[in-house]
């Protein structure tokens, strides 16, 4: 039996040492998926030729050919990233039959590194939600307690990494969609600086603030993934040049002397006591490593969720307008319809959360209301960014729990959108300001994971990963019970 629980870096090392073969690892991963995924439902589709792919990579390794840095590592991909020739549904009925005719930039880059895309994983429809309950194909379950939601929207990514159905995963983070499920499933979830990773081929929800990010077992694995998928891309005009930074080098440097601000508004009333005490514990552990921690107030955080939902609904209303079923989508004949009525009818296939946000998105930026809602939200965004920039003049890093509460039961909050929205309070700030943030598994309470979140200033991703690695090393968590 191959140990499927190893980190990405260990996988690479063991392959290089000849201890394991890609074929064995991938085929046992497929078996593992068969075994646990009926319960967990992380995957929307599993590629059927992955074992052949792994075999071909083994052959390359044996013959001494040049092999990419992933060495056939099985990686799961959130189903909102395009892989040429494979279905990309965004967990929506609208894109039930959409087969992407091109590769997302991250996919192209990982293909060059000989990654094996084991399958496409579940998510909330069009990445709107934080439980995966809004997937049109049914929710995923939390491997720590299958009665609980795994978080979202990249729930399938977090579950697949947590339950050893792959080594790493790519998710996307618009308001916490990588960090939230990572926190709930006990894995690392990292949202890089806006522009560090190309979004070309990532199906847009709120394009001005979202980023692709890795979900991994260790912080080092996140740095390893970032090394492979970041950088300028002529297909995405918003990408930034990082001068080919190596995020793994110096990751053990520690955090001695670093100033860390504790965001007061993110440990406010309503924070679960267990989360609160974990936060205190994390702070004292960081201090014991030589960091200097101090509270800081970022006033605009109070309005961040309202601003976030206003801006994302506006962008979603526009980004999802193209799904009129005229050029691609699902089977629904056009005969007998005038185009307006056809489009209206075709769009009924959107699920409830997407519909809700599109209605909001049609309203908040509309003439006569924009000043009260959309433009005001944009003001909050720029004020928040100003405040956070101010904070980074004083601090190297900021800290807060990733989510103020523990994973809750399936069905518990799905009918209460407003209380669901508030779960995002600690994560949306990084998106609205473009700053990098990472969630590190830090504690287990009542058998459920708690993630701790660190923020850094834009393009300080290297420092962020160093600090996260230091924090991660202070704890040893039990193994997932599945």
């Amino acid at each position: 039996m191959t140990n499927l629980k190893i980190s990405a870096l260990d996988y690479v090392e063991q392959i290089q040492n000849g201890n394991i073969s890609a074929e064995d690892f991938v085929s046992e991963t497929v078996d593992r998926i068969k075994k646990v995924d009926d319960t967990l439902h992380a995957f929307l589709s599993v590629n059927d030729d992955v074992i052949e792919q792994a075999r071909a990579i083994d052959k390359k390794i044996k013959s001494g050919d040049k092999v990419g840095a992933c060495y056939g590592m099985p990686i799961s991909i959130k189903d909102n990233m395009c892989i040429k020739g494979s279905k990309t549904t965004c967990a929506s009925k609208m894109l039930e039959n959409f087969v992407a005719p091109y590769d997302a930039t991250v996919i192209t880059k990982l293909k060059q590194q000989d990654a094996v895309f084991i399958g496409k994983v579940n998510m909330d429809e069009f990445a709107m939600g934080l439980t995966t309950e809004f997937s049109a194909y049914g929710p995923s379950k939390n491997p720590w307690n299958t009665d609980c939601i795994p978080g979202g929207s990249s729930g399938g990514s977090a579950v697949s990494v947590s339950a050893f159905e792959c080594v790493t995963s790519l998710g996307s983070d618009t308001g916490g969609s990588v960090r939230n499920p990572a926190s709930f499933c006990g894995v690392v979830g990292y949202k890089p600086t806006y522009g560090l990773i190309s979004r070309y081929g990532l199906i847009s929800y709120a394009n001005s603030i979202e980023q692709i990010g890795p979900l991994t077992r260790t912080v080092k694995d996140s740095a390893f993934m970032l090394n492979m998928i970041c950088g300028l891309d002529s297909n995405d005009n918003t990408t930034v040049d990082n001068n080919s930074e190596d995020y793994l080098s110096g990751i053990d440097s520690g955090i001695e002397g670093k100033k860390i601000g504790i965001i007061k508004e993110m440990i406010a009333d309503g924070t679960d006591p267990a989360v609160l005490s974990s936060t205190k514990d994390a702070i004292s552990k960081l201090e014991s490593l030589g960091a200097i921690c101090e509270e800081i107030s970022i006033d605009m955080v109070k309005y961040s969720v309202a601003a976030y939902y206003t801006i994302t609904a506006t962008e979603a209303g526009s980004n999802l307008a193209r799904y009129d079923n005229l050029r691609y989508g699902y089977d629904f004949p056009v005969e007998g319809y005038e185009f307006n009525s056809y489009i209206a009818k075709a769009r009924k296939n959107f699920g409830p959360e997407v519909t809700r946000r599109m209605i909001i998105g049609g309203f908040v930026p509309s003439a006569g209301h924009a000043g009260k809602y959309f433009l005001k939200a944009m003001k909050v965004k720029s004020k928040l960014t100003k405040e956070v920039n101010e904070a980074f003049k004083k601090f190297d890093l900021l800290i807060a729990p990733t989510v103020p509460i523990l994973p809750f039961k399936l069905g518990e909050k799905i009918d209460d959108p407003v209380s669901l929205f508030l779960v995002d309070i600690n994560t949306v700030t990084a998106n609205l300001t473009g700053k990098p943030a990472i969630s590190v598994p830090f504690a287990i309470s009542n058998g459920l994971p708690i993630g701790m979140q660190l923020f850094a200033n834009s393009m300080n991703d290297k420092l962020l990963l160093q600090a996260a690695h230091a924090l991660e090393n202070t704890v040893k968590l039990p193994e997932v019970p599945i």
Binding site: M81, A104, G201, S234, D236, N237, A321, R322, P365
Partner: protein, 467 residues
């Protein structure tokens, strides 16, 4: 007072690629839905990739129309549903959140009238709807996306025009200007389209949309003024509305759609970061801009003493001014200007003829030199020019093939002159008393030589013979 304002859509037809992808800007040569890719089809996950060349060319248009050019520009989304719009929003520009369009206010003189430009924006063209089926019952709509994403510059004017004639004059100037800049070929079908706002004294503003050519724009404004005037004379209110130009019946029709009530929910296009066009970039662009029409005209007049009317014609048409600039030198400039404006213009008066023409700048230079050195008469040069355009052959070859060379051999010419003198005794007598009338005899000699006699030599010889 009649007021007309224009919104002109001009495709940047001379660019290689579309505004946000590498599909061809020249979509006309493709089979239906062959010039498309994930980006211009707005497929899930695709992102716009801004064509920097389009930004340059649009900035040049703004500069040529004397518009202000902001240092930072941005793109916005105009959200509305229409089947020809793959993303169901159009990436465009506007100035409601500050001056972020590629061109701000400017102006251009049309005769003595100053026409103010409100703004210039760069945007993507949608696809094209094709209607099939004979009646509305069985009509189907097909969409060709080849055009989707083609770079379009919208030029918005103030309502400064007072007549359709002014509109036409402006459009002529604008066409020449765009062509001279090398950004667009206004003669291509669909390359220039326009909407017009028309109002008469005491009436409300009426917007006429869907005018597919500059030619129709004058007609449409004329129709609209006539319509409004006749309503007004019968005391019928002119309502504020949007009308569509029916290019088959050449009338405007009230559009029942609620288009004017659409809320486009404009907001910043986050996939395209703000673009900086600072003063140093603008300076560089200015140096890259082709010489303006007015500067060319000025140069032709002051340097070569070409008459203003000739210089005007020559400079305003890029095809002719390019030929002129490539062929002339100090000695033959006037002659070449003459050949172009008196002969060539009649021979290549359509787009097709220009494309087929085999005439080169070298041909023109040789032809003018041949005229000046007396190798060929002005008369024969017209025939030679015709042949050059057709065949592209060397001038010397054509002269000998068609026997167009001047008769400058004295003895041969003398023979003909003697014949003329004996045949025209009366005219000879007249010429003796009144030297002015000798031209009649020169004409006769020309007739006999089919215009090939060297006129100066003929005159000299004739004078000698008569005395």
């Amino acid at each position: 007072m009649t007021k007309i304002g224009l919104e002109i859509h001009c495709q940047l037809t001379n660019l290689n690629s579309k505004l946000f992808c590498s599909c061809k800007a020249n979509y006309r040569e493709f089979e239906i839905n062959e010039n498309i890719c994930p980006i211009c089809m707005g497929l899930p996950g695709s992102l716009p990739r801004l064509n920097q060349e389009a930004v340059k060319k649009a900035t040049m248009i703004a500069m040529a129309l004397n518009c202000s050019t902001p240092e930072k520009i941005a793109f916005f989304r105009k959200n509305y549903f229409y089947p020809d719009l793959p993303k169901n929003f159009q990436i465009t520009q506007l100035n409601i959140y500050g001056d972020t369009s590629i061109g701000g206010t400017g102006s251009i003189m049309v005769g003595d009238k100053k026409i103010n430009i409100t703004r210039i924006q760069l945007e993507e063209d949608p696809g094209r709807l094709i209607y099939e089926g004979s009646s509305s019952k069985n009509q189907i709509t097909l969409v060709d996306y080849n055009r989707a994403g083609t770079p379009l510059v919208e030029i918005v004017t103030e309502p400064d025009f007072e007549s359709p004639k002014q509109v036409r004059e402006f459009l002529n100037i604008l066409s020449d200007l765009l062509e001279n800049l090398g950004v667009s070929d206004p003669s291509l079908e669909g390359a220039m389209r326009a909407d017009a706002n028309v109002s008469i004294e005491g009436g409300k503003k009426v917007e006429v949309k869907n005018i597919g050519s500059f030619h129709d724009l004058e007609k449409a404004t004329h129709f609209e003024i006539t319509r409004q005037t006749s309503l007004h004379s019968r005391d019928i209110d002119i309502i504020q509305e949007t009308r569509h130009w029916d290019d088959k019946r050449k009338i405007t029709i009230s559009s029942r759609s609620k288009e004017e009530e659409l809320d486009y929910r404009y907001f910043l296009e986050g996939d395209i970061p703000w673009i900086t066009i600072d003063s140093s970039i603008q300076e560089k662009l200015r140096t890259e801009m082709p010489e303006s029409i007015s500067s060319k005209k000025e140069r032709y007049i002051s340097k070569y003493n070409i008459p203003p009317q000739v210089a005007d014609v020559l400079s305003s048409d890029k095809f002719y001014s390019d030929l002129f600039d490539e062929s002339h030198d100090e000695t033959n400039a006037k002659e070449i200007a003459n050949i172009i404006t008196t002969d060539l213009m009649g021979l290549v008066d359509t787009r097709e003829k220009r494309e087929e023409s085999k005439l080169s700048a070298k041909h023109l230079a040789e032809l003018s030199n041949a005229i000046q050195s007396g190798k060929i008469s002005r008369n024969s040069s017209k025939n030679a020019l015709h042949e050059i355009i057709k065949s592209g052959k060397e001038l010397s070859e054509i002269i000998s093939e068609l026997d167009l060379g001047n008769v400058s051999d004295e003895s041969e010419l003398l023979k003909i002159i003697t014949e003329v003198i004996s045949a025209e005794p009366q005219a000879v007598e007249q010429a003796k008393s009144n030297p002015q009338t000798i031209n009649y005899l020169v004409g006769k000699v020309m007739q006999k030589t089919k215009g090939k006699a060297d006129p100066k030599l003929t005159l000299d010889l004739l004078k000698k013979q008569i005395e």
